[in-house]
């Protein structure tokens, strides 16, 4: 009984707000648009717990009847009788509004999660409006799993499963076939040429940082090349663009010389930091090429606009050049000006092919199976799309 009394009192009380005296009586009963109904406030799914979604049934006068609803205003308050604050507007015809709050405690728009909020929706014409009842309390909370990202979850599991299966197969000694790569077969021959001519080898790891995938693939190939130069006692020059890459290169080469049983002829100053400016670096490398005249140049890793100058100057100096990058904008110059080019994924495969380690071969096979799945879904997708099977297409739809 007490609840009803409060409710009635509230209705009277809020009506004063809703119908300010001077306007209330002048406005006829008929002009006022019908108020929206069934207002519900619930947590916005798949979010960090600072946003509440408000839904309601359109006012009877929206698109029909008096049809004088222009906009819906959503108001929020901490308690049913409390003071309502405008949170946002939505044009007529729409019945959903997301009350987005900030997660930062200091920000003025902070919306704490797990706190109960009450909403009312105001159907508004020009100057006249009517409010819905106050909704049941709703509160925001963070979800533990983003359902929109399910396709990615499946892809991650499938991809990791492929890789792990093939790695364990490789570890059990199963013979895994990888097709020969033209660029890689030329590595030994190119190093041999440098030894005959008694000239150094120039190895450029590219402009990428130590954690970039192309740079890491380049490290693996460098370790194999350095082992070869240790055996043939040919000097190897590695001017570096990034301090961390320099440090890692020094250790890779030192370890390779150790493995080849020639730690004595390893010279730390051959792996040096030149500059971290793209074009100062390329000018410096050009100077080295023209002065030292290396017999073989390796450009393996992340390259940008300077790739053409390196390849062009290298060909002027008459060296054999083996290049490889995953930067698609630079591959045309490497294809045009160098002798062998590892295109995109071939650079990653080269580390597996060269290393011949079972584990690297295993991941490469896992990748190939991933590609096989992509190829199959490409064909099925084309068929499904032509016959309009929407279900199949949604499998790949990812909500960010």
């Amino acid at each position: 009984m007490r609840k009803v009394a409060i409710f009635v009192f509230f209705l009277l009380f809020s009506s004063i707000f809703v119908f300010p005296p001077d306007k209330a009586f002048a406005q006829e009963e008929t002009e006022m648009p019908a108020s929206p109904t069934k207002v519900e406030a619930s947590d916005t799914p798949n979010d960090n717990g600072h946003s509440i979604t408000v839904k309601w049934k359109l006012s009877a006068d929206d698109g029909a009847g008096k049809n004088n609803v222009v906009v819906y205003e959503v108001l929020r308050s901490d308690s049913p009788e409390g003071e309502f604050e405008l949170r946002g507007m939505v044009p007529a015809g729409e019945s959903v509004f997301e009350d987005q709050g900030a997660k930062d405690r200091q920000s003025p728009n902070y919306l704490p999660s797990h706190k109960k909020f009450y909403y009312t929706v105001r159907a508004k014409g020009d100057g006249i409006y009517s409010d819905s009842e106050v909704s049941a309390p709703g509160y925001a909370y963070g979800q533990w799993f983003h359902t929109g990202k399910f396709p990615v979850f499946v892809a991650v599991l499938a991809f990791s499963a492929f890789a792990l299966i093939f790695i364990s197969l490789a570890r059990k000694g199963k013979k895994l076939y990888v097709r020969p790569l033209a660029g890689i077969e030329a590595v030994d021959e190119a190093i041999g040429r440098a030894t005959e001519m008694g000239k150094p080898i120039l190895y450029i790891i590219g402009l990428g940082s130590a954690d970039m995938i192309a740079t890491i693939a380049s490290f693996t190939i460098l370790s194999r090349v350095a082992k070869k130069t240790a055996e043939y006692q040919t000097p190897i020059l590695i001017p570096c663009y990034d301090a961390v890459v320099m440090a890692v290169a020094q250790e890779t080469v030192k370890a390779a010389y150790l493995e080849a049983g020639r730690p004595d002829i390893y010279k730390e100053e051959n792996v040096f930091f030149l500059t971290s400016m793209q074009f100062a670096y390329v000018a410096g490398v050009n100077g080295i090429m023209l002065r030292e005249r290396p017999a073989t140049n390796f450009y393996l890793g992340k390259f940008y606009a300077e790739s053409l100058i390196l390849a062009e100057t290298g060909s002027v100096a008459g060296s054999i050049q083996i290049s490889g990058t995953d930067e698609i904008a630079q591959i045309p110059f490497f294809v045009a000006a160098t002798d062998y080019t590892l295109i995109g994924e071939e650079l990653y495969a080269a580390s597996a092919y060269l290393g011949r380690e079972p584990v690297l071969l295993g991941t490469l096979k896992g990748q190939d199976w991933g590609k096989a799945v992509v190829i199959i879904s490409l064909i099925l997708g084309a068929i499904a799309a032509s016959l309009h099977f929407q279900f199949f297409l949604d499998l790949f739809r990812v909500q960010l």
Partner: protein
């Protein structure tokens, strides 16, 4: 040695001099070449042309001085177009030198007679938010709250004291986003976060090298249009009926490209003519 052998053995410096002349000579002639406009450039132009006065436009300078000859004419013609249509311009940069280059472009446009007459106020008609490190994370944070991503503008004044930024909380309050990009972070990140995730209307201007990479993003609510290299800049100027540096450079580009194609043909003819001899030796 036959004519073709000598042709193959041409000293590189002769080629360099030829190219230098091919580029420099056309700059002396004031020829306004016919530049055919493509649909991808019209996409960006109409997106800006249909905005009502006072709507807010965000332009992000994500390139360094090395790409200025291609992207600075785009920036200048974009500013001229926005100010002539009384749009509010918000400038930012995901590359450190971006905001500085924006100021150079603003100096050029704000001193043009018809724009100068409007005596636009900093902080009311245009604002420069400066650079923040963080690449695509900055765009992500702007999606929820621009004031968190850019606490202060290029000159250090807090965003809350800037009138223009008052009503701007995230991409819902921005009518058009334009990104001038020369690499990473650039248009790909703006498509992934601003367009895909926060539904912003996005147009882009790219260097000629990057432009073909962005074609797959045209349409499908990702990119309304794209300007590629100097040709894109010239097309935008022609659409705005204000030919400027873009068009003047296009004549020089035309000659330079003709010379390069000529080199390709001559190089191959000489190569094939001498192939038989090389096989014998």
């Amino acid at each position: 040695m036959g004519f073709f052998e000598r042709l193959l053995k041409i000293d590189r410096r002769i080629i360099f001099t030829l190219i230098a002349i091919a580029i420099a000579m056309p700059l002396f002639f004031d020829v306004s070449m016919y530049v055919e406009t493509t649909s991808e450039v019209r996409g960006v132009f109409t997106a800006v042309d249909t905005l009502s006065a006072g709507s807010k436009v965000l332009i992000s300078f994500d390139f360094d001085p090395g790409s200025m000859p291609e992207l600075q004419p785009m920036a200048e013609s974009f500013f001229r177009h926005c100010f002539s249509r009384d749009l509010k311009v918000i400038v930012m940069g995901l590359w450190p030198q971006g905001p500085l280059q924006a100021n150079w472009a603003l100096d050029v446009i704000l001193n043009e007679p018809d724009i100068k007459a409007k005596n636009l106020q900093y902080g009311v008609d245009y604002v420069n938010l400066g650079y923040t490190a963080g690449n695509e994370v900055v765009i992500q944070r702007m999606g929820s709250n621009i004031h968190a991503a850019f606490p202060a503008d290029y000159y250090g004044t807090p965003l809350d004291d800037i009138p223009l930024m008052k009503g701007v909380r995230n991409f819902d309050n921005i009518d058009f986003v334009y990104n001038l990009s020369a690499g990473y972070p650039g248009t790909m990140e703006w498509v992934q976060f601003a367009a895909d995730r926060f539904r912003a209307t996005l147009g882009a201007g790219n260097t000629a090298v990057q432009a073909p990479l962005m074609y797959p993003y045209l349409g499908k609510r990702q990119l309304v249009g794209i300007l590629g290299g100097m040709k894109g800049a010239a097309e935008y100027e022609v659409l705005a009926q204000r030919p400027a540096r873009g068009v003047r450079y296009m004549f020089s580009q035309g000659i330079a490209h003709a010379v390069v194609i000529f080199f390709v043909i001559v190089g191959n003819v000489a190569y094939f003519a001498t192939r038989k001899k090389r096989k014998e030796s």
